[in-house]
Symmetry: C2
Subunit: 425 residues, 2 copies
């Protein structure tokens, strides 16, 4: 737009010089250009130009100042690294579009977007899309919006359905493409975010990620719009989406079926916004290595209740690629243990004083084996495909407390023995 304005101004200047006589018919053309110029100037938005290097300079015109400030605050060690990362977002709907916008505003290196649906006015109860985009494909509309917000982000959009044979092939090859960062190990992307709304599509993302040994995050919102979840899936290390019996998640009805019957799932911009926020916050923690990446985070908005859990892979998983990854993970255990021991020794060496005296959140390095022991109790828990399967708030509250101030018993015989032992002293 700025270029167009400049060209028109130049043309007017030369017109003025060549036709000094005011009765000349070209004056009419001049007037036309002047009017058009004025119109343009009035409505022309000043687009943000590309920024070559992320700077921490505190000026109003720097779109990255508030993000680079994270380094000075001691939250992120090297924020600029965000430009190296590629994130794939499967479905650009209520969660996916907001996640894409958040990552774009954070200056992510490259986004790969997959969807086959069109924007409708019925989607206006969620963030990101605007009414004038109704009728556009969600991928096109997202690219239009995101490119405007941050032209520094490399956007790749794929208008396809990953659950079709051809769609899956393109999905796989796009994830494997390493043109953006040829030196990267593994696949061509750093993380896949699943923002789909049905079981079938989740199983397809699961299959692709198991095959590629690709870490991914799952997300979802319940049909009644009031709860949601995010989940981290690392092939071989955590449960994959197929590790639990499909019946657990099969109660999720395909949205297309619902539409056909003249009913539709409810949705709120709030629940979608919270889930997208948790998803991208964990994405940033994972990529930029700060804080704790949640293995599972639920959100029940009716009670403002936030359940968590962890799930190990199922050795009887029906997914062959998952079993392959589990085997690799086990085989790599000695190397992992050695690295861990080395790191622990280094931590002990510097652990004479607290690293940060002002440790307001009481954040501390915890021995992995302690976490392992603690989590064994929740190994039998079924994974979460749909948010209605979250443990109830009451179950959560009934977990035994492990504080040192009290003693919990659930067996009278055991209790008796303990009492006798105490009295014997």
């Amino acid at each position: 737009m700025e270029v167009e304005l400049k060209e028109m101004l130049d043309e007017i200047q030369s017109l003025k010089q060549s036709f000094p006589d005011s009765s000349n018919p070209s004056i009419e053309k001049l007037h036309f250009h002047v009017k058009r110029l004025a119109d343009l100037a009035k409505s022309a938005p000043v687009w943000r130009s590309k920024v070559k290097d992320m700077s921490a300079e505190v000026v109003d015109s720097n779109p990255y100042s508030r993000l680079m400030a994270l380094q000075r605050m001691g939250i992120v060690e090297n924020y600029k690294r965000i430009r190296e990362f590629s994130v794939a977002i499967v479905r650009v709907g209520g969660i996916g579009s907001v996640a894409a916008e958040m990552l774009t505003r954070c200056g992510i290196g490259r986004l790969l977007l997959y969807d086959y649906d069109k924007v409708e006015l019925a989607n206006m109860n969620r963030l990101c899309f605007h009414p004038e985009q109704a009728g556009m494909t969600k991928t096109d509309a997202a690219v239009q919006t995101l490119q405007d917000i941050n032209p520094d982000v490399v956007l790749e959009s794929y208008t396809l359905n990953i659950t079709t044979v051809q769609g899956f092939e393109t999905f796989m090859s796009s994830l494997e493409n390493k043109t953006f960062r040829p030196e990267k190990e593994g696949s061509g992307v750093d993380l896949v975010l699943s923002c789909v709304d049905n079981y079938e599509a989740r199983m397809v993302v699961n299959q692709a990620c198991n095959e590629l040994n690709q870490t991914w995050m799952e997300s979802g919102v319940s049909e009644d719009a009031v709860s949601g979840h995010i989940q981290l899936l690392i092939p071989g290390e955590t449960a994959c989406f197929a590790c639990a019996p499909p019946s657990v998640v099969a109660s999720g009805v395909d949205e297309r079926t619902l539409k056909r019957e003249g009913v539709c799932a409810a949705s709120f911009p709030t629940t979608m916004g919270v889930v997208a926020g948790l998803l991208v916050q964990n994405t940033l923690k994972y990529l930029l290595k700060f804080g704790h990446v949640s293995p599972f985070q639920g959100y029940n908005s009716l009670k403002d209740y936030f359940p968590t859990m962890e799930m190990r892979p199922n050795p009887q998983c029906s997914n062959a690629a998952c079993l392959e990854r589990q085997k690799e993970y086990l085989l790599a255990k000695p190397a992992r243990d050695a690295a861990k021991a080395k790191m622990e020794a280094e931590v002990l060496l510097v652990a004479e004083g607290p690293l940060h005296a002002d440790n307001e959140w009481n954040i501390s390095v915890v021995n992995d084996r302690e976490i392992d022991a603690k989590d064994t109790a929740s190994l039998d828990t079924l994974p979460e495909g749909l948010t209605r399967e979250l443990p109830s708030a009451d179950e959560f509250l009934e977990l035994p407390a492990s504080g040192p101030a009290e003693m919990c018993v659930d067996d009278l015989e055991e209790l008796k023995k303990q009492l006798e032992a105490l009295n014997a002293d």
Copy 2:
């Protein structure tokens, strides 16, 4: 835009008829219009027209179908009531602008927006505003964006600073104005959302709401961008913002000061998005009477930890209006108790079977007195002005469990007695 297009088409038709001769100079004018028409048609967005009645019809063109579905799902009894409500949002920044967008997409009746700041490129790391709005006031930019998203919402914007004498006067009179719904009791708004970033402005909102006996919600994100909170404040019933010693919150440095010194607070679109989502979800629960409205909800994104608490008013509060409201609240106790007893009796009458057999979240009506007793323990806790004052995750985890499936003891003598009683049977 559509009107402009139509007028131009009409003009072209009449031009064609009056000048059939192709050599006529007016043909040039015709060409100009045709070209301009083509340009307009190419870039003209199809704006969404106003919707008179909210309908539950499931068609792609219905912007309210997914929200009206909340009624069919049994979440909200009467969603259409949302059009009766007025919500005031103080500051349209990182949290306020997203909260405003969410409420607009939900079809809120009326929004009152207050800000004095301008949109800058440095704000692009948060949702809502776009680069081409740089230089506009935040109120103007918000109105432009929100009116486009949902023209059904009545928007009132106030470009002013509520902490100035004149700004405060306009703020007060705008809250008192009942033109939108003259029959409404109390002030002219149903809820005030404080989305300010400093202590001084919070105290001003607190003063206004105490004077008007206006329920409000407080929100904030820490300077290091990784934690935030929301808080419900009901004058006389909960602690007001002045009920706790100001020193607790005085560590929050005014953002303007920071800017002057060449440093700036960090921010993430994720933390802001989660806090705005929690804030508006609780606003919807409060207005449409569903779920549980949280008295306080914290969010520590590094650990995905969500602390809660409740705070009673301080009988030694320094705010005179707060003491006034506390007195009124105490005087109204007998009437409140009578109403509560009546409601409890009604609940008992219908409590022969569960209201919803499929009560997946185990939601139940709880006797207020039980809650009162439970919360007495946290009465001495200091209120939260800034998120860095949140209780630590470790404190939270050490709370005693109260589930019925197990027996918790902290007194051996008591335990002995219980055992003897059991053995006596």
